[in-house]
Every structure is written in C-alpha cells, then in structure tokens.
Symmetry: C2
Subunit: 459 residues, 2 copies
Amino acid sequence: VTNPILVPEIRELLATDSLDVLREFVQSSHPETVAELLSALEPGEIWQVLSKLDPALASEIFVRFEDDIQVEVVDPLDRKALAWLVTDMASDERVDLLKRIPEEKQHALLPALAKAEREDIRRLASYKEGTAGSVMTTDYATLPPSITARDAIDQLRVAAPDKETIYYAYVVDETRKLLGFVSLKDLILARPEQRVEELIYRDALSAQADEDQEVAARMLSKYGLLALPVVSAEGALVGIITHDDAMDVLAQENTEDLEKLMAIGGSHEAGAYLRTPSWIHFKNRCGWLILFAALGLISGAIVQNYEGLLLQFAVLATFMPMMADTGGNTGSQSATLVVRALALGEIKTSDLFRVLFKELRVALMLAIVLAVLCFGRVWLLGSGSTAAAGTSPNRIGLAVAVALGLQVITATLVGALLPIGAAKLKLDPAVVASPALTTIVDITGLLIYFSTAHLILSG
Amino acid sequence: VTNPILVPEIRELLATDSLDVLREFVQSSHPETVAELLSALEPGEIWQVLSKLDPALASEIFVRFEDDIQVEVVDPLDRKALAWLVTDMASDERVDLLKRIPEEKQHALLPALAKAEREDIRRLASYKEGTAGSVMTTDYATLPPSITARDAIDQLRVAAPDKETIYYAYVVDETRKLLGFVSLKDLILARPEQRVEELIYRDALSAQADEDQEVAARMLSKYGLLALPVVSAEGALVGIITHDDAMDVLAQENTEDLEKLMAIGGSHEAGAYLRTPSWIHFKNRCGWLILFAALGLISGAIVQNYEGLLLQFAVLATFMPMMADTGGNTGSQSATLVVRALALGEIKTSDLFRVLFKELRVALMLAIVLAVLCFGRVWLLGSGSTAAAGTSPNRIGLAVAVALGLQVITATLVGALLPIGAAKLKLDPAVVASPALTTIVDITGLLIYFSTAHLILSG
C-alpha cells in the first residue's frame, strides 16, 4: 500500500477546499490506511476531513483511530455532529466510544438517536468488560428457517449494507432462539427453491453472553469460523463475534498474559507502548517490585543466618548467585510452559499429576546434567584459593552439586504446581509471575544450599 | 456442541458395520469435533472410519488431527489409499503432511497423483518454513477483470467446492499478475451486468511469498481481512493466507516469543505440552540453563572478590539477594514491554531514543521509590545486629539505597536496550530472554552494590 497523499498535502487540500481530490483518495484506500495517515493531523483537522465524507465511511475510518485520538476528535463536537458520526457506526464500536466519553456528553447524545439505537446501546453497554457480550456486535444477519435459498439471498442483499458480515446468516425462530446458521456459499450452491432449513448447520457453536471473551475467541479460532453467535441464558441470539474482533481479543489476552508473567499490572486495552504516559508505566510496575524487593530480604536473612558457615567456608559465596539464578530459570521455564498450555487448553487443572510427573522426569534429567557439570567444574578447576582447611575440593563439589540438583527439582515442581494451583482457585495462572517464582525459589534455594552444605561439610 | 456418540459406541458401529449411523453422526458434526472424538481411537480404527466416508470429508477431518496422529494413521497405508486421502486435501495441509512422512513414501506417492497436483506440491514445498509461502494455500478463486458480476458469481459457484474461500476472489491478468480483489458481497450487491473491473479493490494488500509469516498474519489481522493474497517477486499471485491459518500462525508465534523470553529453545510447531516427550522438553530447556549457570559463576567471583568488604560489613550480605532480584525484575519488565511492542509493530528500532527516554523516566521514578523505602527500612528496623563498628545504620541505609537506585536504572535501561539492539542486528528481540537479562543485571548489580558500599562505607 502506498500513501499517495501526505500530511502537508492533506492540509493543502483542506485549505483550498479541494473536496473531490480528498474524497477520491479516501475512497480508494483501506480505512485503516486512511486512519493511520490522518492520525498525524490535529483533532480539529481530522474532524474537518471526516465531516466531508459519507457518514458510513467517516465512521469506518473513525473507529480505526487509537482510543485517545477518538476521544480528542469527538470532544469539541456538538450533539448533532456526534449523532451524525455514531448513527452509522458498527454497534460494538459505538458502545466502546460512548463508554470513553464523559457521562454528561453521553446523556446529551442519547436523545438525538433513534429509539432502536438507544436500546441497542443500552443493551450492549450492560455486558461486563471481558465477557463475550462486551466484544460482540448486533449487526448480524438473520433468516427464518422456512424461506427458500433464492429469497434468502435476496434478503441478505437488502440487509448487507448494515451488517458486519452476510457470509454467515443466523437462523432463528419467532422467539429469536438460535436454530443454527447457513453460509452464503451454501445458499449460492443450493438449488434456488431449496429451503433454508435443509441447508442449516444445526449444531452451531455458540458462546454465552456472560462467558469469558477469551474462551469465545479461542473457540472461533479453533473451529476456523468467520463469526461466532452469542446467545443469552435462554438460548436467544443476542449478537455475533466476528473473526477480526476475535483476533483483537486474542492479541490483547496474549499481551496481558505476558505482562502478568513479568509482574506488570494494570489494564492493557490500549496497549500502545509509547502512548502510555510514563507514570502509568511506573504505576503498573511499581507495586509488585516493592513486594518482591521486600521478600528478597527474607533471602538476605537466610544468608545472614548462615553467616558462621559462610565465614568458615568462604568459597560457598561463589556459588550462591548461580544457585539462586538456576532455580529462578528452571522454575520460570516450567511455569511458562504450564501457563501457556493452560491458556491454549492443552491441559486442564485435572491434569495436575500428569503435569507434575512429566516435569519431575524433565527435572531429574536437568538436575543430573547440571549437578554433574557443577561437580566437574569444582573438581577440575578447584573451588578457589580460599577453601577452608579441613575440606577437600571434592567435598565442596559434592555439596554444591547435590544442592544444585535438589534446587532444580524443587524449582521445576514449584513452577509447574503454582499456576495449576492458581487455576484451581479460579485465579489467573499467569499471576504466578516469573518474578514471584524467582523470589520463592530464591528462598527455597538458599535454604537447600546452606542446609546441604552444612550436612556435607560440617558433618 | 454435544458428542452424541462416544468411543465404545463408535467401536460398536464399526464392528456391526453400521455405516449409515456412523456417516450421519460424522456429517452432522463439525470436522474439528469429529477429529477430537476419533483421536481417542487406535490409528487403524481411525482409518477404518475415514475410509468409509466421502474423500473430501475424510481429508477435512484428517487434517484436524494432531501431527503425530496423522503420521500414525497414514503410516500403514498403501499408495492407493494414501492418494485417495490426499487428493481432496487442502493444498497447504497436503504439503505439511508430505513433509512429515518418510521420503521413500513421498516418492512412492507422487506418481499416483495427477500432474497438476504433483506440481502444486513441488511448488508449495519449495517455500522455507516460517515464510508466507509456507502457510499459504493455492485453493483460491480468481476472476478476469472483464467479466460481469453475474458471470463472476456463476464462475465462483462452479469453483466453490475446491476453494478455501469464495468470499474474496482475486482478479488477475493473463500473466497471473494480481490486479486486486472483489468480495462476493460486492458482486451480489452489484447490478448483474456491472463488470468486475468496476468493483475491484485495486490497492489490495499482499504479502511476498518469502516474507516472514508473522508479518503477513499481522497485516491480515490489522486490516481485518478474510484472506491475504501472496505474490511472487514479479507480482504474480501464488497463493492466499486465510484468516484461520493466520490465527494459527499468530498463536504459534506468541508461544514462541513467550518461550524464547524464558530461554526455552526448540521448535514450537506442535505446541502440545503433554504430547511432547520429556527428553525433548529436557533438550529444549537444558542448553540455556547450563550457559546461565556458568555465567552465574561470574557473579560468584564478584562476591568472592569483595570478600574483605563482606567480612568487615557482614550486614551487606542481607541485601545482596534483594539487589540481584530487583535488578532482574525491573530489567525483565522493561524488556518484556519492549519485545511485545516490537512484535506488535508499536515501536520500530529507530524509536530507540524515544524508548530509552521513556524507560529512563520510569526508571527514575521506580529508583526513587525503591531507594526511599529501602533507606526507611534500614533506618526504622536497624540494619541487623552484626553491623560493624564504625558505621551507623544511616550510612549502611544510604549505601544500600543508592546502590538499589542505580541498579534499578541500569537494569531498566539494559532491559530496553538489548531487545532493540537485537532487532537492529536482525536477531529476534525475544532471544534477549528474561534469564539472560537476569544473569547480566546480576553481574552489573553486584558490581554496583559493592563499589557503592565500598565508596560510602570505607570512605
């Protein structure tokens, strides 16, 4: 995609009122491309461009701006201009915008809209953030089961301009209960007089409106659907989630999981790294850091508790960082694999023992390899010049190697256990973040290290 | 979705040769559901079921099995049975399967296929893993620019059974150069005698066949497309990536990024945690662990180097783990945010200084808060009973707080710098994994800690 018109040129076109050139450029490009280009203009200028367009196109471009630009553009608009913009907007995008503008502005706007739209907004706004209902659109096509394929295509043709997709049409009875769906492809392939009820996929997958948006998006992805119908508790069709919105949901959930794993808090909806103010970044990162720093002092207390041993065998200090790091690394690895497998539905919490058994086998292999290498290193290069009298490098090597092996096994099992435990408690497995785990296995690691060393060296 | 028929019942149906019941169940369910259920059977039984079905349906179910089940099912098949299965298979899935079976079997199969199919396989197999070409399908619909909407719909109707989608049709000239695309929706909305060239989106987005699959999938996602055309270096259409394959690519890339961040190596295509043998898990995790454990010894050497200072001010050992942990945590946080922002295209490597400036501001805030809290902790609770004579708790507190602040700033900047540096060197930013970073800032942290303590306490 090339951008034939650049910002100064757009300003020039606005100044000289060359609307035809402007319209032609906007109509020949993808709305996403137009929105990206216009983002570089001032909010007032953006509105100048949008207001010259057909409202359907204007709103299609508008919804592709970053959230903060959307708010800046609508901020100075009066009720009439705002109503013009939102009337043709996709129903899910419209509700998202309204949630972002000040409440008095929302209340001022609603009377300017048609009754059906007001009710649509009220209904959509009632679903909690993060549910399937909050990401669905109500711009879907429905068909009764009894009409013919020919009539169905005619109905879809009429409905098309207002719908997000006509490639799937949902078949409902008089009470709006979802019976199934037909694809436009099947309608086109059918004999014109065939009835919709003969073509219907009856076992249509659907999501409950109050279900987690991630579960719904993963279902759509797994079955390769263009859209997933969303139903009420009574089984009535209330909306659809389209494939592009599902992709957005999954991208957002992935970012969220990753940030949770690194103990970064806060909402990640906006997601734009550079646009997020520094103090928000600070706020999202600060809390956990303080907690883990405080917990780090427990490790420190353990070190201080074994001061006597450290003074006697000063060489033990050399292996302390390695012991802590390796525990953190092995634990984070197994926690990450388990968190991801849970997120993708590859394992369930009931698989706890299968997972622990698998991790135990991996941990034993890792422990043996690392312990042997560690012993070899001490044996080959000596343990350092300050080894206390009364111990051999072999004995130091044995102590360090045994402790490292035990630490790897403990850390791996803790790393696998904690996310599954969190999931069993209905917590997000990713809250057992890598820093939390590192801090925990730091403590266990130092305890293992000093007690093993005490047993082997002072024995 | 309910599973009305369970494994023992399927075995019963096979034993009693009740083909009609079996067929009816298979046809009334989504192929994904059928594949999931059949996965519980033995490979031989799976083949028994599939061979009783229409080949198009059999292959649609077959491609939804896990990779290893696919291989087990086709392993005992003769050339004729294998040809029956793969002839109707989607072109991208067929190549993936062939890549997985032994070479002599591939060579035995090819002569049993039609010439067009052999060439299609040869062409698709030539694209390297991870490129747009390797995930595209050749089952797309094309139209010449000059025909009418009515004729176009007729052509698509005829082509539909063999195509992955007919909702987008790609318009090509006689040399197969991609001119743009038309949607079935626009064809249906158009007057029947309107020509395709009037309806075409000329600025169609496309990917190069040798481009990164992730770039192509993100483009499709960003623009909310159903499919993205893939072109050769000469601009000729060679395939399309469909939205469901793009979702799979993004899920795979997300897993890969996450695992790289945690220093887990290996290929992640299969992705199934429990199916992957323990020794493969071991192999994927072992290498980096050994490297980081070895690097951990550098931190140990630093500790040993400052043995004198530690003996004089034994209380310093208490704060050592906190110093290392906090550096690792802050560094991992900023590295994670930068890796994710790079992956989503929110920042480019040329934004280096904007990113560093932003991270510096965040780091200063974090450093001040953590340093003040740390000083307060030492000041309030004392630094421990073993503080050496000649220093006040205030002085110890000052040394620890200053060192912690400097460590937070260093670690944050290193965490932001390394992934962008890796990207500039055309490496994957995620290779600067959290364990690598932890190990690096462990070393810088201890150096900062001991030199600060030396300056303030021994001065």
